[in-house]
């Protein structure tokens, strides 16, 4: 893992310094398959930020939000010491080995080393649960362990604890391709529901996700350069939020913008949308925790 707990920064000063520094530690790597140079990398891990879409995909190219951001914002993400999200990763590391709840267990008691046991987990989310008969985002998986195995209180979706844990677990998949399994259970029904939502115009502005992220990505909407709305970087540190935020917070933000009544975090609608949007980003490298404007 690129970042270790042995390096501690003071919470406020660290971020300020990091923001001022903006040193790019990223090296330019070569991608053997595409022959493409300039693949970004973090601590030697390459990130695939663009790939040709498979047949039947609504986009010609699948492109990470990373490519739509400024060099300064990219630089923050490409250096773990500058990336403010690592303050939450640290919290996650602490929580990983802290026993909580009636069973007196921590995550570590069951899963051992996070770097081994959680490798690749984020890349497959949301994942079908036979138990619950629905796809589960990472947040639900974490709370399932807390409730059923630790006898601990579930964390709130947007709490610092949950963001820290999803960032820590997500980091263990960084550089691995997004690969959601649509063959399990009823995943295709959820995919279809998500697809329907993606193309439904909503709110007083009467716009669908696709209007902005499929038809107009690469164009400015006022001061914002529209990306494809890919999900591979979440939870993401957003400069505008000055905070790490969940994917469902971002979904809500987009619905707010068009003056639509947003669905709740963790709702079936947002889970369906997460299944569908994850599929749209298949093959992109997980970038958790990404930095966006």
């Amino acid at each position: 893992m690129a970042f270790t707990t042995t390096v501690k920064r003071s919470v406020v000063g660290g971020v300020a310094l990091a923001l001022a520094g903006l040193g790019i530690s990223a090296s330019l790597a070569q991608d053997e398959e595409s022959g493409r140079t300039n693949l970004p990398s973090i601590e030697g891990e390459k990130l695939l930020t663009r790939l040709k879409s498979p047949q039947g995909h609504p986009l010609k190219w699948v492109v990470s939000g990373f490519e739509f951001r400024t060099r300064d914002t990219q630089a923050l993400q490409l250096d773990d010491f500058s990336n403010p999200a690592f303050l939450w990763v640290e919290r996650g590391e602490e929580a990983w080995s802290t026993a909580e709840g009636e069973a007196g267990k921590s995550c570590e008691s069951c899963h051992g080393d996070v770097e081994d046991s959680m490798k690749g987990v984020r890349a497959k989310m949301p994942k079908w649960s036979t138990d619950k008969n629905r796809p589960m985002p990472l947040e639900d998986k974490i709370n399932q362990c807390r409730k059923e195995r630790m006898g601990a209180e579930p964390w709130k979706w947007e709490s610092d604890q949950m963001l820290g844990m999803t960032a820590l677990i997500g980091l263990q998949s960084r550089g691995m391709p997004v690969n959601v399994n649509l063959e399990a259970g009823d995943m295709m029904a959820w995919w279809e529901r998500g697809q329907k939502l993606y193309y439904t115009r909503m709110g007083q502005l009467d716009l669908a996700c696709a209007n902005c992220h499929e038809d107009n990505n690469g164009k400015y909407i006022r001061a914002d350069l529209l990306s494809q709305g890919q999900t591979n970087g979440f939870p993401t540190y957003r400069l505008k939020w000055q905070k790490l935020g969940s994917l469902h917070r971002r979904f809500k933000g987009c619905m707010d913008q068009v003056r639509a009544k947003a669905y709740k975090r963790g709702s079936d609608e947002f889970v369906a949308l997460e299944v569908y949007t994850a599929w749209r980003g298949s093959g992109l490298s997980v970038e958790t925790p990404a930095v966006r404007q």
Partner: protein, 152 residues
């Protein structure tokens, strides 16, 4: 060939109760030959107020999607729609009024919001339910400002 559209009265009452955030869309208007010939208020608009309504991000926010050379001193012009320079040369006042009121009647499937429509949306936020983005007066104001966008 013309069509009569009617938006119902109760929306106006709701809007009055809810403050200035958004507009009523209570008045009916006639579409004649792809335009709305008559002023929605029966009066001409005020171009200075129109400029303000175009710029305001809670009202027209037209620069979100359109570039306007005249308004270059305001930063961040969007690239979603065509530049509006010279738009009054390309369209009659009646056509421009319909584009503002409901662009979907002019450009099939367009991204441009309908600015004077209060019903028929999906999942509108409670605070905007039953309201249009602009009031009839604001539509006329924006229109009178747009009418100055001439190059010939």
């Amino acid at each position: 060939m013309w069509k009569l559209l009617r938006c119902l009265a109760p929306a106006a009452l709701l809007a009055l109760g809810a403050g200035a955030a958004s507009a009523d869309s209570s008045k009916s208007y006639e579409i004649v030959d792809g335009g709305i010939p008559a002023s929605l208020t029966g009066k001409p608009g005020d171009p200075a107020a129109g400029e303000e309504a175009m710029l305001n991000r809670k009202l027209g926010n037209c620069l979100a999607c359109h570039a306007v050379t005249k308004l270059k001193n305001h930063p961040f012009h969007g690239e979603i729609g065509p530049a509006l320079d010279g738009v009054a040369d390309r369209y009659s006042e009646a056509q421009l009024r319909l584009i503002l009121v409901n662009a979907k009647q002019v450009f099939d499937g367009t991204m441009m919001p309908a600015f004077y429509k209060s019903e028929g949306f999906t999942r509108v936020m409670d605070s905007f339910a039953g309201k249009s983005i602009l009031t009839a007066k604001q539509v006329e104001d924006v229109l009178s400002y747009l009418s100055t966008f001439k190059e010939h």
